[in-house]
Symmetry: C2
Subunit: 382 residues, 2 copies
């Protein structure tokens, strides 16, 4: 193997990631919808370029810092898809003066703050709750929705661009039919809100987009844009939901084996919660384990990772150790000092922790700096 891996290293199968992008680009084109991929998954300017090469010009991010980072890398149409953080209005105002910026609101109070402090044109998306119940105005509460819409309309620099939802309740569903049903129901509810607003003279777009829904739906229907993110890498959760095949997963964490315990069929790796995150799949989900699992197990073969062992998984994860419950064939194949490759449960969190990718060809790809105070400040952007 060409790669010199000495410690936990996040491997990126570029070919798979590009195929995942292609598939979603084609589907969006076929459905005639704008593709505004969520860049919180990869957080990388270089990977962003792969999307640009496919004609993508509009993106989604989940923080003002990420918007500043991608704006600095010449993205000029960005939606920050989290209810607006009123403590970062300076940076939002700065961004709005330079790029086409979209923000998400769900209260009159937030709109009031925007009205007072934003001096440039700003696109405002009303966050609609179609059933996930994390954030958003309830889809069946038209009077509250109308109140916020009116408040936006009355502000000189603000424009009601559309309705935005995240049907996060597809996560955890493992039937394609159920996931498609949630997608269709979300769309129906969004269309009702759109209609009600149109009756009051508002012309608003619809933006949707969770990875399970967008992966399992062939035609996106009457929406204006989709915003999936995770699909570029996928992960063990998405395999479990049925959003992708195991062969579509484009990230794996290569980890050195540091210990083996034959009496309990366990392999211990150098690779823990600070590399993979503590995201887990429930007991009896993808494997037969009676406890939550923290990753799937593959071997390294010819510079790539193998298929996953179906009866093995990480069953315990501390700061830097992972404990693998190993089936016989796996246990026998691996010695202390060897590498195994772990399919992450949640690739967004694993990528965020690792801060860097290594392609199977050995190339390093960087991403945004982590949560430091000054790194993504306005002054650096300017």
């Amino acid at each position: 193997m060409a790669l010199q891996i000495t410690k936990p290293t996040l491997l990126l199968n570029e070919k798979r990631a590009l195929a995942n992008i292609d598939r979603m680009v084609e589907k969006a084109t076929r459905s005639g919808v704008r593709f505004r991929p969520h860049f919180k998954t990869h957080q990388s300017a270089e990977i962003g370029q792969w999307f640009r090469d496919k004609g993508v010009t509009a993106i989604t991010v989940s923080s003002v810092d990420m918007a500043l980072y991608f704006a600095r890398h010449e993205w000029a149409d960005i939606t920050i898809a989290i209810p607006v953080n009123l403590r970062q209005l300076d940076a939002i105002d700065y961004l709005a003066s330079r790029i086409k910026l979209g923000v998400v609101v769900e209260s009159v109070e937030a709109v009031d703050s925007l009205r007072q402090q934003i001096g440039s044109d700003l696109q405002v998306w009303l966050k609609i709750d179609v059933g996930y119940h994390r954030t958003g105005l309830l889809w069946d509460d038209p009077s509250s929705i109308m109140q916020v819409a009116r408040s936006v309309k009355s502000a000189k620099k603000l424009r009601v661009k559309g309705l935005l939802t995240h049907a996060g309740h597809t996560y955890g569903e493992t039937s394609a039919e159920k996931i498609r049903a949630i997608y269709r129901q979300s769309l129906e509810r969004m269309t009702i809100v759109q209609y009600e607003l149109s009756q009051q003279g508002y012309d608003v777009q619809i933006s949707v987009g969770d990875t399970p829904g967008c992966s399992l739906i062939e035609n996106f229907g009457e929406v204006d844009e989709i915003r999936p993110g995770n699909f570029i890498f996928y992960d063990l959760s998405q395999v479990w939901f049925g959003s992708c095949r195991e062969e579509d997963v484009a990230l794996a964490l290569a980890c050195p084996v540091i210990s083996k315990h034959a009496a309990r069929n366990q392999i211990v790796i150098y690779g823990g919660a600070i590399h993979l995150s503590k995201e887990s799949l429930p007991a009896n989900s993808l494997t037969n384990h009676q406890v939550p699992i923290y990753g799937g197990i593959c071997l390294m073969e010819d510079g790539c990772w193998s298929g996953m062992f179906q009866n093995s998984a990480i069953i315990n994860l501390s700061q830097e150790h992972g404990v693998i419950d190993a089936e016989e064939q796996l246990f026998k194949s691996v010695n202390v000092g060897d590498l195994v490759a772990i399919l992450p449960v949640h690739s967004c969190l694993t990528a965020n922790l690792m801060g860097q990718y290594q392609t199977l060809g050995g190339k390093q790809i960087d991403m945004i700096s982590r949560n430091k105070f000054s790194k993504e400040s306005i002054s650096e952007f300017a």
Copy 2:
């Protein structure tokens, strides 16, 4: 408040951290044991200096990278307390040539690799499993222990320094009596192994040290050194175990409120899994919630955080959002745009994610760079 907090920010109560250090230093001194604190919790050279100011000269780390980082910051007696990673023997050899380095082994195979590739004196600790069953040679398997000891002894540059254990099975116990019993049992088992080795002519030290045990034991007994780490900050888990009081917790994550939902008594913060980690406490642990919780809730008052609300907690955590189930008084006290402070479930993982501390006085404290390929390389150390 003097602090200008615009986004999730890891606050460090310096006074509490210093008091936590003092307490452990004093207890170690009183017990006549070496204090070799685990620096994986804070991962910061500047915070390391606080220990040095109290006379600490020996430390524990959990990776070769951390050893390189602290060696660069003039720590000259370091134990890497994880079974030795055979893929980093170059760096280990380099470190061993410059500082007093300790590594942990649990197999003859690992010792063979060390024998072949290490050219300087290296202290070898035999990892003993006293009941946690993560790694280590079983305490009641003297023949395997003796085999590894002999193998170390036969290698010119290696020296059997001692027996090292981590009684991680104190984690999750919530009775002080039970935790003390585990400590005493571990010690008894380690002493038996020490005796058996002494019969074969080995003079070995005993190293122990999980935070619950070290916090609840007043006299450490017949051990040579203790290695707790988490105690410098503590966290919600340790409050639950009973290792500390809530008033001892020295870290909190300040987060902007971005959404409120009166119908379900929920407050949504900008602050998620990439800030806090997905470590959770089980349902019905510290609060009355029927679901796992991801953090305790405080208000910001006079530049510090308040006492924790006893009937509120983070009940859902996605990449950048946290959902708080809020009792009435909390719900009423907080508006969109305000800050709340979250007591982390596991301070080590939260600190690792945030990468930087801000003291209540507004000072920034840095830590080691995250898991990048080249950052902590040998060449940088040299």
